[in-house]
């Protein structure tokens, strides 16, 4: 089991000082921030490195940072063999919201990435089946964005009463 600071040291050594940031709010849990384009390589390292072994992806959530005009993806991973957890994030501009998919590394990401695409419009590159999951396939817009306006009609039916 490793503390967050120890994980930070391992990551700095592997990825270089520039590619990892360690952040924390006033309350709650800390997280790491990585550049989006390296996320697949980093995810593979997190899963396979002998001192980390993050073999399960507990949760993958999309977030809309309206003020910064950015979309974020937060990954929560846990190691069932070593017993430690960590959270990490990537942030991408809203007009080019491309994040490499980690579906090939953790299968949980398959549906969670589809959900994040559906709800927030994060586009996961190399995802095998990136289709809407909770809303119908021909739905317009991404409901969890802060500036979302629901469409008035869906296939001729009014959406508000």
């Amino acid at each position: 089991m490793k503390e967050q600071e120890e994980i930070f040291d391992v990551l700095k050594k592997q990825l270089g000082e520039d590619s990892v940031e360690f952040m924390k709010g006033d309350v709650g849990q800390p997280w790491f921030q990585f550049p989006a384009n390296r996320i697949k390589e980093i995810a593979k390292f997190l899963r396979d490195a002998a001192e980390l072994r993050f073999n399960t992806l507990m949760c993958l959530s999309g977030v809309h940072y309206a003020k910064e005009e950015e979309l974020g993806v937060t990954y929560h991973v846990h190691s069932t063999t070593l017993g430690h957890s960590m959270a990490f994030k990537v942030r991408v501009p809203i007009d080019r919201p491309n994040v490499p998919s980690v579906e090939s590394i953790w299968k949980t990401a398959d549906w969670h990435e589809r959900e994040a695409m559906d709800m927030l419009g994060v586009m996961f590159d190399d995802h095998p089946n990136l289709k809407r999951i909770l809303t119908p396939e021909d739905w317009e817009g991404h409901p969890l964005r802060k500036d979302y306006e629901p469409q008035e009609f869906y296939q001729g039916m009014p959406t508000t009463s």
Partner: protein, 381 residues
Amino acid sequence: MIEEKIIDTGKDTREMVINMGPQHPSTHGVLRLELTLDGEMVKKCRPSIGYLHRCFEKYAESVEDYAKVIPYTDRMDYVSAMNQEHGYVIALERLLEVEVPERVEYMRVIVAELQRIASHLLGIGTFGLDLGAFTPFLYCFTEREKILSIFEKATGARLLYNYMAVGGLMRDIPEDFKSDTADFVKTFRPKIKELNDLLSYNKIFIDRTAHIGIVPKEVALNYAASGPVLRGSGVEWDLRKNDPYSIYDRFDFEIPVGKGEVGTLGDCWDRYIVRVREMEQSLYIIEQALDGMPDEGDVKEGIPKRIRPKEGEIYVRTETPRGELGYYIISDKGASPYRVKARAPSFVHLSMLPAISKGALIADMVAIVGSIDIVLGEVDR
């Protein structure tokens, strides 16, 4: 209801695409499985969800108060509402750094474990029903009814309770709660044996569930399966022990795991029997909690008047009857959460279905869906 499409491949065998659901008795809600069949064999399965989507996450962002999300969490997994609330209030308590009174903690554990039994009874009963065993379903519901009566006395509701509050409980604990619960524990224990005789070791039931829908350990871990699905594959993993929350570290109990007793490790029967054995363990926990629960104490005094966490974020996971329920909450110092994401166990387990149903017979699909015990309210949120 069933739409058939025959694809001519020019060979003697022809594939057929058939929709199971959205209105199908074994889907326990509105779920559509698009099955590509070769004769009776499933070649491909594509679950289609979203029929029950009620915008939980959007709603949580738009309320004017964190506490107003609690009744909505009930409606995610509506057969284990207590466990859904428990996770959410724990997440907020950790964000606010609020101390929870002893009496409240014990009470929460007792209702959470009672809810676990009630939920497993429903899961087991309907699982039997799907496979043609009607009587055990009635036995299960008789027992579940007793738990719901206890809840009704304590909370005023039978299904969706809105009982837990940040730092406390919404209502005082009724005087006869302890004796009612103790009575239930005493009468319920022999019923588990009855259920085993009636269903678990019934030859027809074993024939329908053993060697069916095998989830290998590696697949379960790679998909981050949890709860009885993961334990059914032989992994000793329970968040109440592995990542203790509330006061679960004070109780002594075992984690039942599947062993492949009547079939292959990780088959439908293993997942089923884990649920039965978990009910026994829940009874042990309830007994210990009843002994330890202080008699005096105000359950409402710890509730903060205003819930306004500082800036930060948290991911809290708890063990619900279906597995790991996670809440990811981001606070931006506002009165309502900036983002709430619910990681539902049923959502994850359902995404495993294409991987575990390949090569199964269409009749066995019913057993596989029943054995992962999904609640569509939680899948779609």
